[in-house]
C-alpha cells in the first residue's frame, strides 16, 4: 500500500477529520479579518487590497461549501472527505497569500513577508498533491491501473521535492526575494522552476484522462477542475514576473472558483442519481404495498372472526410485512414480520419470505415446521447476511386455539375475553436467515369468544418524536382505550395515538399492525334459522328461505333442485313419523351457505321420537316394479343428492346435518 492510499484511507476513516478541517477554515478566516482590522490599511498597496478582498470572498465560499458537505461527514464517503481536505488546503493557500499581501510593501515586516511567501510555495505543492489524489480517485473509478500507480509515485516525489526546496530560499534566494521597499519580487528565470509540479500534473492528468476507464462525465469534471486554476497560475505568474510592482493576485481565487465548479457538477450529478433512485423506491414501495392483503373486511362471510391490518411505510422503503390467509375452512394463517435492512434489498427479501411462509403453510405445515422450512430455504440462499424476524400463527377458527411460533419478533399483545390487553411473553426462537440449524418451537394460546390478539413490528413502540420513543406502555394504553371496539377501530386509534405523539416527524421505520378478534365458533351466529309447524301444509313454503338464498347467490338450477328435493324428503319424513300427535310438533331448519368453500349446510332439528335415518337400509332398486317395496326411497334420494349426512341425538332432539358443495 503506498502513501497516497494511506493518506486517502486515513481521511476516509478518521471521524473527526471533517469537523476539524471545518474548524481550521473558520479560524483562518477569523484571524485574517482580525489582522486586516488591526493593520493600518494605508500601507497596503491598492492592487494587493483588491486581491485580499477577492480572497476573503473565496474563503467564505470554501467555508459555505464545507458546511453543505458537513451533514454527510459521518458516512465514509471518500470523495466528500478528500474534497473537504482540498477546500481546507485551498483555504490555507488563500490565507497565506492574503497574509503575504497584507504585509507586502511594508519594510518593517520583511521577514514575515519572506516566511509567508516560502510557505505559500510549500502549501501550493500540498494543494496540488491533494488535488491529484482526488483526481486519481475519480479516474481510477474503483480499480487502479498500473499507469495511475506510477503517476502517483511520481506525484509523491514531486511533493517531497517541492515541500523541501522552497525552504532553501531562506539561505539563498532563488525563487524570489523581498526588495528594500518590502515588496515581494520574483527572480527570473529561476522562478519558472517552481512551477515544475504544475507542469508535471498537466502531463499526468492528460495521461490519466486518456487511459482511464472512468465515465466521460467524470473525466470532463476533472479536466474542468484542473484547467481553470492552472491557467490562472500561469497568467498571474507571467503578469507578476513583468515588473516588481505587485499585480492583482488571482490564482488562488481562481482555484477556489474551480472547486465551486466541480462542486456544482457533483451536486447536480448526485441530485439526478437521487431523483431516479427515489422514483425506483416509490415503485418498490407500491409493489410491496400491493403484495399485502388490503381489502377490508377481508372475510365478510366469516362471522367467527374479524381481522384488520395496516402498514404505514416510513420515508424509506422498508421490509415490514403482515399477511393473513385461510389455509382451509377452519384454519387462518397470520404473519407479522420485519426484515433487518431497508431499501430495495429489504423489499425483495420481504417478498420472497412472504411467499415462502404462505406456501409452506398452505402445504399443511404447523407454525414451527413452517419456520424451520423457511429458515432453511433462506439460509441456503442468503449471501448478504440479511435476516427477518417473523411471528407466525395458525388460528383454528373452530376451537379458538392459536398455535404460533415467534422467530425473534416482538411479543404479541393479547386480550382475553374477561381481561385487558396484556403483553404476552412468548417463547422466542432465533431470527430467520442466520443459522441453518436453528430450532423452532411453537406454543398454544386459547382465544375464547371475545378475545383479541395484536401483533406489530418494532416501528410501533419505536416511533420517535425527537425526545423519546412511543414505547410499550403507550402502545398498551392506546390498545386498552379502545379494547372493546372492532380491530379496525383499535388499529386506527393506535395509529392516531402514534401520529399525535410523533407530531409529523418523519419516521425511520414502518409501523405495521394486525389485530384479530375471535367472535367464537357459534352456530347461532353462523347459521340462519327458522321454524315451521310439522304439518304437510307447511311443507309447501318450508323451503323458501333456503331456495331464495341459493337463487340469490346464483347457484345452478340443478343444485337448487337437488337441495330442494333432499330437504323436502327429510322434512316429509319428520312430518310423517316424528310426532305421534300429528300437527303438534315443530321443525327447526338451520342453514349456512359458505361463499368461500361453496358448501351449503342444512340442519333439520325436531323434538320427535328418536330416529336415525342413516340406519335405514337402502331400498333394492334393482327389483322390477311388482316386487319393489313402496317406501325408503325418500332417504335414498337424500343420500344420493347430498355429499354428506350426519345424524345425532342431542337434548331429546333429532339433529340431521346435510352438506352439499355447490
Amino acid at each position: 500500500m503506498n502513501i497516497e492510499t494511506k493518506i486517502s484511507n486515513f481521511i476516509a476513516r478518521a471521524k473527526f477529520i471533517v469537523p476539524l478541517l471545518f474548524a481550521l477554515m473558520l479560524t483562518m478566516f477569523v484571524t485574517l479579518v482580525v489582522l486586516i482590522v488591526c493593520k493600518d490599511v494605508t500601507y497596503i498597496h491598492p492592487n494587493n487590497a483588491f486581491s485580499v478582498g477577492g480572497e476573503l470572498c473565496a474563503m467564505i465560499v470554501a467555508i459555505m461549501m464545507s458546511v453543505s458537505i458537513l451533514p454527510t461527514y459521518k458516512r465514509h464517503d471518500i470523495y466528500n472527505r478528500i474534497f473537504v481536505t482540498l477546500l481546507t488546503v485551498g483555504c490555507l493557500a488563500l490565507f497565506l497569500d492574503s497574509l503575504q499581501l497584507i504585509y507586502d510593501g511594508d519594510p518593517i515586516h520583511r521577514t514575515l513577508n519572506n516566511v509567508t511567501s516560502v510557505f505559500i510555495y510549500v502549501n501550493s505543492s500540498l494543494y496540488l498533491f491533494f488535488f491529484w489524489i482526488y483526481a486519481s480517485k475519480v479516474l481510477s473509478a474503483g480499480h487502479k491501473g498500473k499507469i495511475l500507480s506510477v503517476l502517483n509515485l511520481i506525484a509523491l516525489f514531486f511533493l517531497v521535492i517541492n515541500f523541501i526546496v522552497p525552504f532553501f530560499n531562506f539561505v539563498h534566494p532563488f525563487y524570489f526575494y523581498i526588495n528594500d521597499a518590502g515588496y515581494y519580487t520574483r527572480i527570473t528565470p529561476m522562478w519558472y522552476l517552481s512551477q515544475n509540479f504544475v507542469v508535471y500534473l498537466i502531463i499526468a492528468m492528460f495521461i490519466g484522462i486518456v487511459t482511464s476507464k472512468a465515465r466521460v462525465k467524470s473525466k470532463l469534471i476533472i479536466s474542468a477542475f484542473a484547467i481553470l486554476p492552472l491557467i490562472a497560475i500561469f497568467v498571474a505568474g507571467y503578469a507578476k514576473a513583468q515588473d516588481g510592482d505587485p499585480t492583482v493576485s488571482v490564482q488562488y481565487s481562481a482555484m477556489m472558483a474551480s472547486l465551486v465548479l466541480i462542486y456544482a457538477f457533483l451536486f447536480s450529478d448526485n441530485e439526478r442519481n437521487l431523483h431516479s433512485k427515489n422514483k425506483e423506491l416509490s415503485i418498490a414501495t407500491n409493489i410491496q404495498k400491493n403484495m399485502l392483503p388490503c381489502i377490508f373486511p377481508a372475510f365478510p362471510e366469516r362471522k367467527e372472526f374479524d381481522i384488520y391490518a395496516s402498514m404505514v411505510p416510513a420515508k424509506e422503503v422498508g421490509g415490514d410485512f403482515y399477511d393473513f390467509f385461510l389455509i382451509d375452512e377452519n384454519n387462518l394463517g397470520l404473519v407479522m414480520a420485519d426484515v433487518s435492512d431497508k431499501g430495495i434489498p429489504a423489499a425483495l427479501f420481504m417478498m420472497s419470505a412472504k411467499i415462502m411462509v404462505e406456501n409452506y403453510a398452505m402445504q399443511g405445515q404447523s407454525p414451527k415446521e413452517v419456520m424451520t422450512s423457511v429458515n432453511k430455504e433462506i439460509c441456503s440462499r442468503n449471501q448478504d447476511g440479511m435476516f427477518v424476524t417473523i411471528w407466525f400463527g395458525i388460528f383454528n377458527i373452530r376451537t379458538g386455539v392459536l398455535t404460533a411460533c415467534n422467530a425473534g419478533h416482538e411479543n404479541p399483545i393479547i386480550k382475553h375475553a374477561d381481561g385487558h390487553f396484556e403483553m404476552f411473553k412468548d417463547k422466542h426462537c432465533f431470527v430467520i436467515g442466520w443459522n441453518e440449524m436453528a430450532v423452532y418451537k411453537e406454543y398454544e394460546v386459547i382465544l375464547e369468544k371475545g378475545a383479541k390478539i395484536f401483533v406489530y413490528t418494532d416501528g410501533v413502540p419505536e416511533s420517535y418524536n425527537g425526545a423519546e420513543q412511543f414505547g410499550y406502555s403507550r402502545t398498551l394504553k392506546a390498545l386498552i382505550e379502545k379494547e372493546n371496539e372492532s380491530p379496525k377501530d383499535i388499529l386506527t386509534h393506535v395509529q392516531e395515538s402514534i401520529n399525535t405523539f410523533v407530531n409529523n416527524r418523519d419516521q425511520f421505520d414502518d409501523t405495521t399492525m394486525l389485530c384479530l378478534e375471535y367472535k367464537g365458533y357459534n352456530k347461532e351466529t353462523m347459521f340462519k334459522s327458522y321454524k315451521i309447524p310439522a304439518t304437510v301444509e307447511a311443507l309447501e313454503t318450508a323451503l323458501d328461505p333456503v331456495i331464495i338464498e341459493l337463487e340469490d347467490i346464483e347457484a345452478s338450477h340443478k343444485d337448487i333442485y337437488r337441495i330442494r328435493l333432499s330437504l323436502d324428503e327429510v322434512l316429509t319424513n319428520v312430518v310423517s313419523y316424528a310426532y305421534k300427535d300429528k300437527g303438534q310438533g315443530e321443525i327447526e331448519i338451520k342453514y349456512n351457505i359458505n361463499m368461500v368453500s361453496r358448501v351449503v349446510t342444512i340442519c333439520v332439528i325436531d323434538n320427535g321420537v328418536p330416529f336415525n335415518p342413516l340406519e335405514v337400509s337402502d331400498p333394492d332398486i334393482s327389483k322390477p316394479a311388482s316386487e319393489r317395496k313402496i317406501g325408503g326411497l325418500g332417504l335414498y334420494i337424500v343420500k344420493k343428492n347430498m355429499d354428506e349426512i350426519d345424524y345425532r341425538r342431542e337434548n331429546n332432539q333429532n339433529i340431521l346435518v346435510m352438506r352439499k358443495k355447490i
Binding site: V536, E540, R564, L565, D568, P624, G631, L633, G634, K640
Partner: protein, 99 residues
C-alpha cells in the same frame, strides 16, 4: 297441482301440471285409482310437471303395479331433465316406461 285428462275407449291420458310432492301426491293417487277402471293404456303426460318427490314416485310405482295387475300398460311422457335425474337415481327408468 292440477290434473286434466282425455279418455278414448280404454286409453287414458292424464295431463299433470305443477308439483307432485307430499301434499299433492295423495290427490293424484286418488284421482288415478278412481279413473283406472277398464283402462288398458295409461299415459301420464309430465310436460308441465316441474317437480316430483319420493311421495310422487310412490304413486307412480303403485299405479304401475295396478296397471300390471290390470294387464294394461303405463307410460310417462315428456319428462324434464330434473325429474329424469330422479328417475335414473332411483332406477325408476327401468321400472316404468318413459317416452
Amino acid at each position: 297441482m292440477t290434473i286434466k285428462q282425455k279418455k278414448e275407449n280404454d286409453k287414458l291420458t292424464v295431463y299433470i301440471e305443477g308439483r307432485i310432492d307430499t301434499a299433492t301426491s295423495p290427490v293424484l293417487s286418488e284421482h288415478l285409482q278412481r279413473e283406472l277402471d277398464g283402462v288398458k293404456d295409461l299415459e301420464l303426460d309430465f310436460q308441465n310437471v316441474e317437480y316430483i318427490s319420493s311421495a310422487g314416485l310412490r304413486v307412480l310405482l303403485f299405479t304401475q303395479k295396478t296397471m300390471i295387475s290390470n294387464q294394461g300398460k303405463m307410460v310417462v311422457s315428456h319428462v324434464n331433465d330434473d325429474i329424469m335425474e330422479t328417475f335414473e337415481l332411483t332406477c325408476f327408468n327401468e321400472v316404468i316406461t318413459i317416452i
